[in-house]
């Protein structure tokens, strides 16, 4: 498996970290944060990577980084390219690509809501799913969902009075 020549040529125009085929029709590119918008523009303009399939975020807590993965599909090359960039977890800021790919509006808003990453120039960073949430971005690795649930919600030992009456009369739930 080798990277198609037209893609190799475009990738060669930017100082990228690495590019490799990971599976049939899957290319992984590790880019520097400052190069990603230019890379996506080149891919869209020259090689038909019109479709932004998704933007994913991974929280690498120990490394103190967020990894943003831009999945773009080219109908011309029949190839899905996943461009990876890593940004510092603090302050967790990056640029929006909404001007280039309109679907980014949803994904950037989602990542902001769930991880707290701020995208400069985003369509909207308003709450969408967690409208009344006042805690930290919950998809961050340092947010302990189990601990939060145990502290926030009480558990109920189901043993109502009417059941006690039945038990006193010799009946009750079967174990």
């Amino acid at each position: 498996m080798t990277i198609p020549a037209p893609l190799d040529e475009v990738l060669g125009e930017l100082p990228l970290v690495a590019a490799r085929l990971t599976a049939p029709r899957r290319v992984r590119v590790d880019a520097r944060p400052e190069n990603l918008p230019a890379l996506l523009e080149l891919l869209k303009g020259r090689l038909g990577f019109f479709h932004l399939s998704a933007i994913s975020c991974v929280d690498w807590l120990e490394e103190g980084q967020f990894e943003l993965v831009y999945h773009v599909w080219s109908d011309k090359l029949k190839l899905l390219l996943s461009a990876h960039v890593r940004i510092p977890r603090e302050p967790g800021e990056y640029v929006s690509i909404y001007d280039l790919h309109e679907p980014a509006g949803f994904f950037e808003r989602d990542i902001h809501e769930m991880f707290g990453v701020v995208f400069d120039g985003a369509l909207s960073l308003d709450r969408f799913i967690l409208t009344s949430w006042d805690g930290p971005p919950p998809m961050r690795k340092d947010f302990d969902a189990r601990k939060y649930a145990e502290e926030t919600f009480s558990t109920v030992n189901y043993h109502p009075d009417w059941l006690k009456d039945i038990e006193a009369a010799g009946g009750g739930l079967e174990e």
């Binding site: 899957r26 479709h51 975020c57 109908d75 189990r146």
Partner: protein, 385 residues
């Protein structure tokens, strides 16, 4: 940013200036809304001048929970992400795990998965026929669509033991082989569906109410659909022959003969016409799958270690599927261990129920809101996850 995104305080009636502009909260409890979802619309008369999608009513934190569960345990979670079309969720997650683990399901398992996927597509489209018909006041069609779907759920129940949440497609294959005789019963059901399709045609597609209400309603051009991120039947209704089964094939789809159904117009009618055509194509695919499964013998799972002590190597995978709603994808990351480090679910409705819907509603009339949403076949739980 519009103040329509904020829930306003109840105003003092005496302080309201006379205006023909008013805001309406469409959902989350409304017979014309699909699932638990809400759209806030600003109207001038009965014309929408701004629409804002409002999700979150079905957020269950699947992606977070999946990071706490074993690779195999997540199979019980994923079908719940989209109730009307659960099989692609199981299959896409399982395939992403297989890509990381370097597993290839046995050939028989791959054919069974296609059988499940296409049957699920038929179910989802029948469900949508019903919902869409109801938005223009045609309830008979709804009952017929749901009834027909129920007969297919019987087949699912026979194969998997469950009607909706099958938990059947597992990394490495499927949970068990097909029961004796189920292929005969599925074949008979396909005959019955084909017998009923002309009746659906007469009741829905040749119906003056449907044609008048759906023609030109919620229409978008191919350029708009591509720019807004529309996929699946909604994109094909704009004349774009895009289908992941053909463009980025998986399982045994390259061995199957089927057409990519397209329509021109990009309106609510075209979207439903595409789905009708896809039911026909799914039947055509199943008619190829059934004889193949009759002759093909072999295992339905590849050997796996104890699922309670199964570590996957570090890696990542992006698996894509053509679901009944459009492009479904799972981005799964392993840091090397017994559970995923990260799972990101990309549902087609993330586009269709938010940005595409907001675009199409702007300029539409209030009575077309439900029809536009149903014609997009948006699935709110897929957005909320």
């Amino acid at each position: 940013m519009s103040d329509l995104k904020q829930i306003p305080a109840i105003p003092d009636p005496d302080a309201i200036e006379p205006s023909d502009v008013y805001d309406l909260y469409f959902g989350p409890n409304h017979p014309g809304i699909e699932g638990n979802y809400s759209i806030r619309v600003r109207l001038s008369g009965d014309r929408i001048i701004e629409a804002v999608a409002d999700g979150g009513y079905l957020h269950r934190g699947f992606e977070k929970i999946m990071e706490e569960r074993l690779w195999m345990q997540n199979i019980a979670l994923v079908p719940r992400i989209c109730v009307p079309d659960p099989v692609p969720m199981e299959e896409t997650y399982a395939r992403s795990v297989e890509m990381i683990g370097g597993l290839t399901p046995p050939e028989r398992a791959q054919w069974i998965r296609v059988l499940m996927l296409e049957t699920s597509r038929i179910c989802a489209h029948l469900f949508t026929f019903g919902g869409n018909a109801a938005t223009v006041g045609l309830y008979t069609n709804m009952f017929w669509g749901v009834t027909m779907r129920d007969l297919f759920l019987d087949i699912f129940e026979e194969i998997t033991g469950a009607r909706i949440y099958h938990i059947y497609i597992t990394p490495g294959g499927v949970r068990r082989d097909l029961p004796d005789g189920v292929l005969d019963r599925l074949e008979a059901l396909l005959d019955e569906l084909e017998r009923r399709m002309p009746q659906f045609e007469d009741l829905f597609f040749n119906n003056a109410v449907v044609i008048n209400r759906a023609s030109g309603t919620g229409s978008m051009s191919a350029e708009q659909a591509l720019a807004w991120g529309a996929t699946g039947p909604n994109l094909r209704a704009c004349g774009v022959a895009s289908d992941i089964r053909r463009d980025d094939p998986y399982l045994v789809y390259p061995q199957l003969d089927f057409d990519i159904v397209t329509e021109e117009g990009g309106d609510a009618l075209a979207r439903m016409m595409v789905r009708k055509g896809e039911v026909v194509q799914s039947v055509r695919i199943l008619r190829q799958v059934i004889p193949r499964l009759r002759e093909l013998k072999g295992p339905v799972r590849c050997p796996l270690p104890n699922p309670l002590a199964w570590d996957l190597p570090a890696g990542e995978a992006y698996a894509r599927t053509e679901s009944s709603k459009g492009e479904l994808a799972f981005y799964t990351v392993s840091s090397g261990g017994p559970r995923p480090y990260r799972v990101h679910v990309r549902g087609a409705s993330s586009m269709h129920a938010v940005q595409v819907l907001e675009h199409l509603l702007t300029g539409a009339r209030i009575e077309d809101v439900a029809q536009i949403m149903f014609s997009l076949d948006a699935c709110p739980p897929e957005v909320d996850r």
